[in-house]
Symmetry: C2
Subunit: 205 residues, 2 copies
Amino acid sequence: MVRWQPGTRERLQAAALDLFASRGYEQTTAADIAQAVGLTERTFFRHFSDKREVLFSGQDLLTEAFLGGITAAPEDAAPMELVAAALESAGELFPGERRDHSRLRQSVIDKNPALQERERHKLSGLATTIGDALRARGVAEPAATLAAESAGMVFGIAFAQWIREGEERSLTDIGLSLLAELRGLAGGESGGSSRGSQRNIQAGA
Amino acid sequence: MVRWQPGTRERLQAAALDLFASRGYEQTTAADIAQAVGLTERTFFRHFSDKREVLFSGQDLLTEAFLGGITAAPEDAAPMELVAAALESAGELFPGERRDHSRLRQSVIDKNPALQERERHKLSGLATTIGDALRARGVAEPAATLAAESAGMVFGIAFAQWIREGEERSLTDIGLSLLAELRGLAGGESGGSSRGSQRNIQAGA
DNA sequence: TGACTGATGTCAGCCACAGACATGACTGTA
DNA sequence: TACAGTCATGTCTGTGGCTGACATCAGTCA
């Protein structure tokens, strides 16, 4: 098992993040990254289906966390409670120590539209998978799709807040708080006089 | 104004959709599309920033429709009411006659991940713009972001339903119905016994 | 020992896309 | 009429993302 240096993917990912952060994403070629860890461009593309993907591995772990939260929830949980359970479970994947790394990674993504596209796509795939899980648990349409997409949406907003400078709450706390806010927003009197929502708490509070 | 054939962009778009639909997206080169309307590849890329973009023009119209709905809403409308207004306004952009064209276009997109990425990205950009509009109207965070993303999310789901075979309701009807469903889902008793959501109406009903 | 496997290298090629410059209507103006 | 300016287009050339085909070669297993 030591025929070649192990952890090739990880070394490529680390080198890629380094180079992207220092030199910029577009200014870094796939060959640069490969060369940085003593490999060839061709090998890079054997490990990652495309150049962007080197920043987006580990998606499966996130998906599994969401799914795990749903599976572990009580049998009679309502859709939005399943979403809450999923968010809690996913939040555990991002302890405080990971915040700095996430920040660096996100700063790279935020500078490049192509990377933002991929990020959205991943989030969207996550929502699709959650939707499948909800339907498998018997949640009907369109509730399953709405709840699943809401989960992805809340996670995305929560994550963005989590890595904001000065933010100290855990990802789970932020996510659950956003979910509560959404419930307040959506559940509000449909009649139409909820000026109250204008003075809602700040996400950063 | 007739120096060159007018409507170059539109002719390129039509040719692209044709070729993508018959031959497949990846099997169609930018040069193929250009040639189909008597132009060169270079000219194609002067009209569209990249190959995918030829399928995604007209985004501005959609954005404007959403924004128009928000602007026209009563001063004291709650965030989710603004979302409803935006959805109504956007729905008008897609009358029944456009359904078939939308279906064809979507069938191409559904077959190619790269195109799906771009589609999500556009929807996400739309949500961002809506968020700005909501904040400009005084909606606080995180309500503005949540409402804006919800608008994009509902629009996306509604659109997918609108082009489903057999669907006959208008896009606006579907969108408003989904929004109502979301409000029911989210607003439901947070206590945790809404088994009722399992028998919610089908989107296709 | 020898067949086999699996990660890697090498080579050649396609295509998306971009910069630089030329062209050839057509327009406005003197 | 002539001449300069504009603008969409063509031409040429180059880079980088990505792929298929084939070779290599260390280690594994029969």
